[in-house]
Amino acid sequence: MKKRPTVGEILQAKGVSRRGFLKYCATTASILALPPSMIPRIAEAIENARRTSVIWLSFQECTGCTESLTRSASPTVEGLIFDAISLDYHHTLQAAAGEQAEAARHAAMQENDGNYLVLVDGSIPLGNPGFSTIAGISNVDMLKETVAGAAAVVAIGSCAAFGGIPGADPNPTGAVSVMDLVTDKPVINVPGCPPIPMVMTAVLTQFLTFGELPELDALSRPLAFYGQTIHDRCYRRPFYEQGKFAKTFDDEGAKAGWCLYKLGCKGPTTYNACATTKWNNGTSFPIEAGHPCLGCSEPNFWDDGGFYEPLSTGHFDSGEKLAGAAAAGVALGAVAAAAGRRRQAKFMKEG
């Protein structure tokens, strides 16, 4: 097998300066909550790491996750790090098609057996194998075949992590997440619709650097990025505490940048790094742009109440059932009163 170049050699060839590279390592250490003493180790490990083979499987998805990664502002060091992995199979990005593409996948699996990473975006339909196929292979069969020799699986985006939009009620395709099917390999969920590019690359960087998976939360999300809620780190939080809320998208509160809780912000129940890492090279994030958080990195975000409904709103049925309860109360009260009157009359009669 041809010896793969190290990541350091690749970055050098791409013209990345030493300063830029170390800056990236420092940022990565910071967002992974590692001490500064780890920066040289990260730098050394990345420089000397051989390109890890990555197979990217796209199932029931919209390509938004790939778009997020590839359209992330002009070439960044993170982008180059991502270039530095050996992306051996990816429908959207690879030049090969048809049998050639499948041959590339099989070759990567054989050459890197036990060491390659599988990245999955999109959910897997179980309702009917024909709902989503690639080269005539059903998604579930391709996933099982590919992860068999993988070191780990990374579920990119909320569809792969939790079923996402394809899995939303009524879930017509019987969509399930990667972790519903893969139980014998480490699975890292990197949810979001789409996930933050930096989060995707940082997770890969940690794996490249330390050869191990990051610390995960109960939903298998890297704690470094999904350890705090958007609300906890939101710059609009002081307005929440002051009880100042925008009521519409164009009122004075909205213009003054007040809290978007009343407009349905799901920040308090959403764990993600949007408020700190932000998007487009740290330019902004949805709340900063004036829109409430949709909670896209949480399971069932699509079905979890209205996007523009405040979190504190109860999910009641129609008022008819409540009116029925009131009518039942009147009937019960009338029966109780009648019984009371009978007892009263009996008492009066008997003395």
Binding site: G243, P268, T269, D304, L311, F316, L322, A336
Partner: protein, 217 residues
């Protein structure tokens, strides 16, 4: 369905049905009872005004008892006013009510609500300590008293915990808070907490009866 979805959906819904049906049952059951025949001549004409008068005057302690009841009365006021503010003046709660009432009203800053919530809990604990340490009160207290105390204070405590978090996840605390509110709603019509909707009915009735008998109210 996760815990929060369950709490916000089916749990709150069932609790609302029980609260509405139970409260109306109690009210209608009492209001439709036949009045005891009173063959005496009324000394004063008891009417709505007499009812309103007693509703107001009974909000304060009669002079001879002022000193003896100052402490529990003060604590009870702090608890009730604190509870009122927490329930009706905390902005996310106002949003909850707006969800089915269709209108809103001004709220208070979170820090003020937090302070009032803590005051309500502290005064509630003080009242419980008094109930336990006072031999007479202890003798006349039953399960209803203690359980009603618990279901009233539990939602305030869980609500305060959401603010301080203490290592728990927001959505877990919010779900527990909503479930504790559901428990309060379910118990409210049946125990002594029924005074929430009966207090002015019973006080007004007392006023009308007393007025008829010529008592000074």
């Amino acid at each position: 369905m996760d815990l929060l979805e369950f709490a916000k959906g089916p749990a709150l819904q069932v609790a609302a049905y029980i609260l509405v049906a139970g409260s109306i049952w109690r009210l209608v059951g009492i209001l439709l009872l036949k009045e005891k025949p009173d063959f005496s001549e009324p000394r004063q004409s008891g009417g709505l005004l007499a009812a309103l008068k007693v509703i107001y005057t009974r909000s304060f302690t009669a002079s001879p008892f002022k000193r003896a009841t100052l402490y529990p009365k003060m604590m009870a006021y702090v608890m009730h006013l604190g509870l009122f503010a927490v329930v009706f003046l905390f902005v996310p709660h106002i949003m909850f009510f707006e969800g089915f009432l269709g209108f809103e009203w001004p709220g208070l800053p979170n820090s003020v609500i937090f302070f009032l919530g803590v005051a309500a809990v502290v005064s509630g604990i003080a009242l419980l300590v008094r109930r336990i340490t006072n031999p007479v009160l202890r003798l006349i207290s039953n399960f209803d008293d203690y359980f009603s105390w618990f279901v009233t204070l539990f939602p305030i405590v869980t609500g305060l915990l959401i603010s301080v978090r203490m290592g728990f996840r927001y959505e877990t605390l919010l779900a527990i808070h909503i479930l504790s509110v559901a428990l309060l709603m379910i118990w409210l019509p049946f125990g002594k907490l029924g005074h929430t909707f009966l207090v002015f009915v019973t006080r007004g009735t007392t006023g009308m009866v007393f007025e008829r008998r010529g008592a000074k109210t």
